[in-house]
């Protein structure tokens, strides 16, 4: 669950929400109130943290925290 924890840290940092408010089911826009630029900020921090590049087409599909975690798990396994 290290990925989820790292992602939570990033989201907390950007959105100033409490870590316990964030679950895998949380929707980035509707629940966590991220706007499009917050999501860009999140992508940048994820790329920096995990040392990978997320294509724009993939990033457009991120709706929930779980979407991001699943994607990162897959990419990190490939590494």
């Amino acid at each position: 669950m290290a990925i989820l924890d790292d992602l939570k840290d990033i989201i907390v940092d950007i959105l100033d929400v409490q870590a316990q408010e964030i679950t895998e089911e949380s929707k980035l826009v509707e629940d966590l109130k991220a706007d499009s630029l917050d999501i860009v900020e999140m992508l940048m921090q994820i790329e920096d943290k995990f040392g990978l590049q997320i294509p724009e087409s993939t990033a457009e599909d991120f709706k929930t925290v779980k979407d991001v975690v699943d994607y990162l798990e897959k990419r990190l396994q490939e590494k």
Partner: protein
């Protein structure tokens, strides 16, 4: 003679872009700015491909120097307009209204320089990583679509984290603004509002006069509750829109309220019921003059300021 990475990259004489304002940044205006040594930019806005084709031809008749096209990513005609830009071998595009990330590889493959207009550090970093050639950092002072950051804060923050050049936009109308932007880390500036009042700009004369008459506090930001807030000069339309917005009008209603209002003012000259998009620098614009005179004035003022007022003392001694 001034050289920056931007003038070198584009092969232009002066580091001065004319903003690609929808409908009014035509081939006639862009051609005039480019022949005067700046970078003219045709604003394709939501226009269709026939419009863009015609304006590209118009610009080509006026200048042999490079000019660019601004692409609005939310335009219904974006795909055809991109195809045309590629076919016509336009050397540089600027992009607005969103994130052009997915188009960057396409432009790169075609050798077209891409300079997205950006209002946040994170998006600037992301687009730089995805291959943008330069970033136009636009502050909230600008006319039309606005972000939240001021040019004064945004430009140095973006310049600090990028290796590619930054072009400053928003709040710049003369040589003083240009020099200030250079001090903040920019290597070129983009001006929109002042070029509304270029003789070659087809904005309605009443629209131009409204910009000229405007004072410091005469612009308002409409649509802060929507995804695309815009800055416009206060008039009947803006007052009504803001009343509705403050009363809690929903997104759909606000969208309908604003739809088509800008060309109504810019081309139709209805400056009471249309939307007069213009930046805070309207208060600094005080005449209609040829585009070449604007370019000359900006460069001469910046140069004189640097040489005569700023360049001689050692301030920290």
């Amino acid at each position: 003679m001034i050289k920056t990475r931007v003038t070198e990259m584009l092969g232009i004489r002066f580091p001065l872009f004319q903003g690609g304002m929808a409908w009014i940044a035509t081939g006639q205006l862009a051609g005039a700015v480019s022949s005067a040594g700046g970078l003219g930019i045709i604003g394709s806005g939501t226009a269709d491909v026939q419009w863009l084709q015609r304006e590209i031809e118009a610009a080509r008749r006026l200048t042999e120097h490079p000019f660019g096209v601004n692409l609005v990513l939310t335009s219904p005609h974006i795909e055809e307009n991109i195809a045309l830009v590629i076919k016509e071998k336009i050397p540089v595009v600027t992009t607005g209204a969103g994130n052009p990330g997915k188009y960057l590889p396409l432009f790169r493959d075609q050798g077209i320089k891409v300079m997205p207009v950006v209002a946040s550090v994170a998006l600037a970093r992301r687009l730089a990583r995805l291959g943008a050639d330069a970033i136009i950092a636009e502050g909230v002072e600008s006319g039309g679509h606005v972000g939240e950051m001021t040019t004064m804060c945004l430009v140095p923050m973006i310049a600090d984290v990028l290796d590619i050049p930054v072009i400053a936009a928003g709040g710049i109308a003369d040589g003083r603004g240009m020099l200030a932007a250079f001090a903040l880390g920019a290597e070129a500036v983009q001006m929109g509002t002042r070029f509304i009042c270029a003789e070659e700009c087809p904005a309605h004369p009443d629209y131009q006069q409204k910009v000229i008459k405007a004072k410091d506090r005469d612009t308002e930001v409409c649509g802060l509750t929507t995804l695309y807030p815009v800055r416009a000069l206060r008039n009947s339309f803006v007052r009504y829109y803001l009343e509705q917005e403050r009363a809690g009008a929903d997104q759909e209603m606000l969208r309908k309220l604003g739809a088509g209002k800008y060309p109504e003012a810019a081309l139709g000259g209805d400056i009471e019921n249309g939307s007069i998009l213009a930046g805070q620098v309207s208060g600094l614009v005080n005449r209609v003059e040829p585009a070449a005179a604007i370019v000359k004035d900006v460069m001469e003022t910046a140069e004189a300021l640097l040489l005569n007022r700023l360049g001689v003392e050692q301030w920290s001694e």
